[in-house]
């Protein structure tokens, strides 16, 4: 089946820089420019920029917006002050994750949901089905470009590209005009480093991209984005998070408020909390020199009995070791438990590790 892939507004820039373009969530995006390991390390040491124009932007507005979003999402919108953002989940009735997203509060009754590229259509359909009176929903995904600027140098870089402005504090949001160009920024990211995500009208993408490159920010692809997030144990939607798994099983209960009242999926989560979890998403580290673990590999016990399947995996460029995530039965979900990964018929030694893999 062939599908027409969407092109980023920065498509030409990626190709001129030698970006290796790959299909991702219906888009053609750079997986790397020359080396995933170099790009990864540059973000850990200095500052890199990722094109995240594939991500979706859904605006929710109206008098009832906050109350309605509180019924549609897991985190407590009442705790989110204007000019801030938080990580949250959209669940189905079974408590499974439809999407994980960042909710920006732009005003008292004015919100932006930054959602995964592969989920835009189903999110908008789901929200649309549940829409309340007095709330409007606007999918502007095709009109916005996005850049994630990540690394310790990000605050200086932001200042340099905006004539001396300063970044908001962690999770802070700014919706501003710079020389007639609107940008919406949030001090957040998916790498474990300081940094910010910047959204702008698609026509301005190249302007900001070039401004960043002039500040010696390194273009980085989806490959480094994946290895950076995996070192932090940040989940990847569609792999570590699915509609069959709840945020509690994924170990992300911090972003779920069961105290705020009912929301879609809350009964299932409350029951899970009371009865205990059958399986948990655990971090696994390879403990011998071996092939890097890959999603889909089987986790087995000492007798070769299957315990689970890797949902993420790869070589950690920072640690030089194989790292992975897998849902494991609760009795095995303890740090230092010895497990094995099957790689091409061979059993590779591993152990359950503390999250995150990477600490500064």
């Amino acid at each position: 089946m062939s599908e027409v892939l969407k092109l980023s507004p920065l498509d030409q820039e990626h190709r001129e820089l030698g970006g290796r373009m790959v299909p991702f969530a219906g888009w053609e995006m750079p997986v790397m420019y020359s080396s995933i390991i170099e790009e990864h390390q540059y973000v850990r040491d200095s500052c890199g920029v990722f094109d995240i124009s594939h991500m979706g932007q859904v605006f929710v507005e109206g008098e009832g917006a906050a109350a309605w979003l509180n019924k549609m999402l897991t985190n407590d919108v009442a705790d989110l002050t204007v000019g801030n953002a938080h990580y949250t989940f959209m669940l189905n009735e079974k408590g499974g994750v439809i999407d994980d997203l960042i909710l920006y509060r732009l005003g008292e009754t004015d919100f932006l949901l930054v959602v995964n590229a592969s989920c835009v259509e189903k999110d908008v359909a789901w929200l649309g089905e549940h829409l309340a009176d007095g709330v409007t929903l606007r999918d502007e995904s095709s009109e916005w470009a996005g850049l994630a600027i990540q690394g310790a140098q990000a605050p200086e870089v932001f200042s340099a590209i905006t004539d001396g402005r300063t970044l908001p504090t962690r999770n802070g949001v700014d919706d501003l005009q710079h020389e007639g160009r609107r940008i919406v920024i949030c001090r957040t990211g998916y790498t474990g480093e300081d940094g910010f995500e910047l959204f702008c009208p698609a026509r301005d993408a190249a302007f900001w991209w070039n401004a960043l490159l002039e500040e010696k920010v390194k273009p980085c692809g989806l490959g480094a984005r994946d290895s950076l997030r995996l070192e932090m144990c940040y989940p990847l939607n569609g792999s570590d998070l699915t509609e069959e798994r709840t945020p509690l099983e994924a170990g992300l209960g911090f972003f779920v408020s069961l105290k705020k009242g009912q929301f879609v999926g809350s009964e299932v989560l409350a029951r899970q909390k009371e009865e205990g979890l059958g399986e948990r998403l655990m971090a696994i580290k390879i403990t011998e020199r071996a092939a890097p673990p890959r999603p889909g590999y089987t986790v087995v016990d000492e007798n070769g009995e299957p315990l689970g399947v890797l949902t993420s995996g790869g070589l950690s460029p920072t640690l030089g070791e194989g790292i992975a995530l897998a849902y494991l039965p609760t009795d095995r979900a303890k740090v230092n438990t010895k497990v094995f990964i099957e790689v091409r018929g061979r059993k590779i030694s591993a152990r359950v590790a503390k999250k995150p893999f990477y600490q500064k």
């Binding site: 997986v31 020359s34 080396s35 995933i36 390991i37 490959g223 890097p292």
Partner: protein, 124 residues
């Protein structure tokens, strides 16, 4: 991309250097560029192999790629330096980045392989 003129090439991006009845095999400069950062090499076992069978695996950060026996014979040596330094495949694909050596059952098997000009034409 380089492709030395004295080597033979396969469609699977391997090179073969034949010296007497000993063939040294590795992956091409083009292949290592495509893979980027090679982080692990699973070396073949010594012994007889058939042409075309998957016998080794080169893993980059992105993906695992099978290496096929380009000719039949007996594997007599593997490059154990790659165990500690798999990135040699990136930095020196035609020399210290070699992967294994085969004592070929018949040297004229290399006539089925491509020369440098054909290989360069195929990948460009």
């Amino acid at each position: 991309m380089t492709a030395p003129a004295d080597l033979h090439y396969t469609r699977d991006h391997e090179w073969v250097r034949l010296q007497g009845d000993i063939a040294t095999i590795g992956i091409t400069d083009h292949a290592q560029e495509e893979l980027s950062d090679v982080v692990f090499v699973e070396l073949p076992d010594l012994g007889d192999i058939d042409k075309g069978s998957p016998i080794a695996v080169v893993e980059s950060v992105k993906a695992a790629s099978d290496i096929y026996a380009p000719i039949a014979g007996e594997i007599i040596e593997v490059n154990t330096d790659l165990v500690v330094d798999p990135a040699k495949i990136n930095t020196d694909p035609y020399d210290t980045g070699w992967i294994f050596k085969i004592r070929v059952s018949s040297p004229d098997q290399v006539n089925d392989l491509m020369d440098a000009a054909s290989y360069t034409g195929m990948v460009s």
